[in-house]
Every structure is written in C-alpha cells, then in structure tokens.
Symmetry: C2
Subunit: 349 residues, 2 copies
C-alpha cells in the first residue's frame, strides 16, 4: 500500500510543527541534497504548454529514492476560484520501483520554494540583512516571508501588489506574527532601502516588475515569479549589472529570467556556492540575483523530509495504488476472482 | 476533489464489464486517438535507470486532456513477491491544469497493452488468423490472449515459458474460457504453424526469444517484451527480413527491438497504417513485426475510456489531492486555520 498525505493531512501536520520549523527542516534537507548534487539523476522538467497554462512533470532521483512532482501554472485559474499553481508528487523506492508516498504538493511547493529562496539568500544576501521588499502577494507570499525570518532573521517587510485585496489578505494573515509590515505605494517604493528584494508575481507575461534604476548596489534579488518561457519579472539590464545564480542552467535558460539573455550568458550554479566550489557574494556593492525557477531536487528534498516525518502521528492514509496479487505473475487473478465471488454469492442467495 | 480508482475498484469494474469488452472499449479509443495522432502533444518517455530496473513517466496531451503514467520495470521484483511492472496514472483538464482522475494502472496497462497489440494485429496479421503462439506467460499473458480473441477471433494458443509454474498458472486462469490451449515443449515448438507470434517475456536482457529460422513467411510478430534499452527478444535477422511497424520512432529506436539496428533502419508508424496513409501487410508472404514498446497516447486513451465509464456505478473515491482554499490566493490560510481551531478548542475545554 502507498502512503497518502492529502491537503487536510498536510495542513494539520504543518500547523502542528509550525510553518517556520517546517521550512527550516526542508531547507536543511535541500542544503544537504545540493551538497551531493552530482549523485542525482537530473533532467529539465517536461512541460506541456496550452493557451492558458502549462503542466509540468519534474523528476529527480538518487540511488535510493526517485521522486517526481506534477505541477501546473495557470494564471487565469484564480478567476474561477482555482489555484494558479497546484501540485502533487510521489516518492518511490528505486530498488523496487514502487511508490511509497503520494502527497499533495500545492502547499508543500510553497514551503519548499520559500525554503530554497531563504537558503540561497543565506549564501548571497548582504550580511545582517533585516529588510525585505516583497512584490506579489499571492499564494506564495506569506511562506516567503516566514522562510526569510526562519533562516535569516528578516522581520521588516515592504510589500506591494497591484491588487489591494491581495495586500489586505497578506496583512490579515501576517497579523500577530511579529513582523513589521509596511504597505508601499508602488513597487519602487517597496524596494527603497531593502536589503533583499523578492519578486513572486503570477502573470504569465514578460513583465518588468523591477527596472534597472530601482535596484541599488549591494541588493540581493530573489526572483521567484519568472519561471516559464514568456514569463519574466526583471529588466535585462539588472541581469547584466548583477551576478546571476541558478539551480540547473539547462532548465533556467529556458524558463528563468535569463531566457532574455544570450545562450552563453554567465551564471553560477548555486550548489557550487553551497559546496564552496564557487564564490557567492564577493563584495558589499555586488548585486546578487537568484534566478529561481524551481528544480526537481528541491521537491525530492521536500518529499523525503515529509516521508521521514510520517512515522509518528496520524497524518496519512493508505491507498491501493499498486496491485498486490499473491502471485505477482497472476495479475489476471484480480479480475477473475471478483467474477467467481459474485457467482458464489448468487449460488448462496 | 480528484477521483481515485484503486486496484480494488478497477478490478471490480473490469470484472463487471468483462475483460474482453473492456479491452475492446480501450482498443476503439486507441484507434480513434491514433487516427488523430497529429493533434497530440508527444514526447519520448522520461526514464530513470538504476541497476535493477527503470522508472518512467509517460505524458501525452490533446487540447482538452493531459495524461501521464508512472511505470516501473524491475524484473527481479517477482523474487520478492512484487510486480515486474507496476503503474498508476493521472488524467487532467488542460484548461485548468487540475487532475480529474488518479487511477491504478498496473491492471489498466495490461489491458491497454493487449488492446494495442490486438488492434495493430487487426491491421497487420494474415486474414483469418486462428492460431497464436504466446511466449512468456507472466502477468500480461492472459490479457494478450483475451485481447486477440476479442478483436481477431484467435482461439488456439500455443504457449511457452521457461518456467513450468508460469505455464500452470496460465492454464488454470484460462480454464473454462473456451480457448484451445496447447503447451509447447519449446519456443520453436510453440511457434510452429502459428499465424501470429506474441513475445511477452520479462527479462531485462538482450535475449533471443525468436531466432530467424523459427519464423515462417507470412507470420505476424507482436513483440511486446523488448521495451527498454538493453532488453530485446528478436534476432536482428528477423527485423531485416520483415517489415517493422512502430508506435513512435523517437522512442522505439531507443527502447524497442530496433535498438539493435542502425539509426536509419526503415520503420512504418502504425498510426499511418490506421489512417490509410501507409500500407500495412502487402502480401501473404510478408513477415510483419509490431515492435511495441508502449506509448503515452495509449495510456491517454485508456484513462479517457476509464474516466468516461465512471459516471455510473460505485467504483471511485474522492481524494483531497489539490488544495482548494476559499480564496485561491490564500494558501496560507490552510496552515493558519488549524492553529486557530486548536486555540478555539482549548478555550472551550
């Protein structure tokens, strides 16, 4: 039987552990997995594009476990009361090929994206950063804020969204959580004086959320929203001025901010910074940019973290996702037996 | 909520409809989908190989629906009482990106593979075929036999497996189903006088199940077992002598029997035969070979067929696989709410 963690179960589990400890736990797992980057079977995600969105499959594997995530991106979904990004995923045993865990991953993706963003910022952001601009106050925004506090101690947020209702939602959710939240009057206003700028907008379009003149020297930019072909947030001039760090160049060149740049635009793989193979921030004036698109190993880390948590507590159900006939070669017995059973019932009736 | 069809549900549904009508229903769907081949978003499957097996993701999509199947291939699994091939799959709505159906697909794959094999044989096998050699009596074998009877009227089976226990299992399962089953003493003995030869063995190795001198003129070969790199069943000389038909050349050249041949070895795409664009069997003497590896569109067809059946009857459950917050941008509310609920309980206690 395959363990199943649905939305209701995962919500209870995360609430019980706490959002910040949960993000920290995933970040530690991602850091450990990025350190052993070369042990993983990697590939750019498979993307099936349609007029209104994209459906993606994101696999990753080490010698013991295989994982994949199914995730969509449909910006118009919110008009119909649906999520822009919805996801679920599976963790499997490489030795048998059997799935051991099926989990919702809409919530888990928000948690692992925040974990990745904050982990990378710990390597790249100016030391003693306190103020973060947060542009785009959709489904991911609260998780980003909590991730940056958990891993970097960020407690002042300068927030901006083109939709005032999103700002109201964010403020209500963050009330009483100990943040100093300042609603800006514009994106440039939000960025002013920030050590870290996080962009996490949802439009599937070439938008310029950040223009070059908005970004002062020494800033760390955590660019989360530009994550598929035709969807970017930063003016190309910022990318030329700063140093760009990516997860997996083969995927980021297709999907990330650097899709706007030439194919040989220089980037640094973030796992090399984590292992010490490559420098991170090299001066107080440098603009560092994490061109984040999300990579399968982060989902692998999140699913592994979740799976290892499930031993204790009542947060799972069991699904008969995989046939388990007594004789594995007798798959046919599964469809033959019910007929016999019904015949038997009829005889007894 | 996502509909879920587990092993127990699908077994009951297939038994209620009957294996042969179910295979026929899938075959009709595959035939219709192959006729509109060019409407599909197609890709070779993603394969993650490990020392003991492979895990694959097989996507396909038209303008309305997206599907993928997760499937493994681990020949040593049977030693531990597990399936060599286990699978599950998902059907989604392209407009929203949301999954609408999650189903077991171990059983469904056996049914759709038999449906594909028999459908293709209807276009390629000698007219009025009556006798099929069936080599490899594992989990797929009974479904192949029933598929060929349902679509072609095959009722004499000459069977062979290196393991006598597999032969006993097959005979017991087929008893009383109206077939004339003859257990051969060897593979060459099984092939003798057969109109159609089906190979469906499981070893992940370059085996020669069929050698050139075993195959008489006019035979149709349904080669099902050779379906991943390093796993073949036919001697290359047979491929040179016959006409080879494939599902999707980009995938079959990597995984099929023709992995043994040069990259430009001529093949005919079977969908072109179905639409009438390409000839099928051109003479009574011709050896036709269906180098089958399984393709995502067949799973798409099978999942679509299953989904459309589910309206009536009690064969599904509902899973909270995708988060559905009242405000789609308020994902955070899912983890905030349980905390509030617990506080409220405490106050009332």
């Amino acid at each position: 039987m395959t363990l199943y963690v649905g939305v209701e179960d995962l919500s209870r589990l995360v609430a019980a552990i706490g959002v910040e400890p949960f993000i920290t736990g995933i970040a530690e797992r991602i850091e450990a997995d990025f350190r052993r980057w070369e042990e993983f079977d990697k590939a750019p995600r498979y993307a099936s594009h349609s007029p209104d969105g994209v459906i993606e499959l994101m696999p990753a594997a080490d010698r013991a476990r295989f994982s994949f995530k199914y995730v969509n991106g449909h910006p118009k979904n919110t008009r119909h009361g649906l999520q822009t990004v919805a996801a679920f995923g599976v963790l499997s045993d490489v030795d048998t090929g059997y799935p051991v865990l099926l989990s919702e991953m809409t919530l888990l993706t928000a948690l692992r994206t925040a974990a990745t963003s904050a982990l990378v910022a710990r390597y790249l952001a100016p030391p003693a950063s306190r103020v973060m601009a947060l542009i785009g106050l959709g489904a991911q925004s609260e998780f980003q804020a909590l991730g940056f506090r958990a891993l970097l101690g960020i407690d002042r947020l300068q927030i901006w969204d083109i939709d005032p209702a999103a700002t109201d939602k964010f403020r209500a959710n963050m009330a009483g959580l100990g943040f100093d939240v300042v609603a800006a009057r514009s994106a440039p206003d939000a960025v002013l004086g920030a050590d870290i700028v996080t962009t996490v907008t949802a439009d599937k379009a070439r938008a310029t959320i950040l223009s070059d003149n908005m970004i002062g020297s020494g800033t760390h930019i955590n660019a989360v929203g530009g994550d598929c072909p035709g969807k970017t947030e930063l003016a190309p001039a910022i990318l030329s001025r700063g140093t760009v760090f990516v997860e997996y160049p083969e995927q980021t060149r297709i999907e990330g901010e650097i899709q706007q740049m030439p194919a040989d635009f220089p980037v640094t793989e973030i796992w090399r910074v984590i292992t010490g193979d490559a420098p991170g921030r090299s001066s107080a004036d440098e603009i560092t940019i994490f061109d984040s698109v999300g990579f399968g190993i982060e989902d692998f880390s999140a699913l592994s973290y979740l799976y290892d948590l499930l031993g204790a507590g009542d947060y799972t159900r069991r699904l008969d996702l995989i046939a388990e006939p007594a004789d594995p070669r007798d798959l046919f017995g599964l469809v033959r037996a019910p007929v016999v059973a019904r015949h038997a019932e009829r005889q007894h009736a």
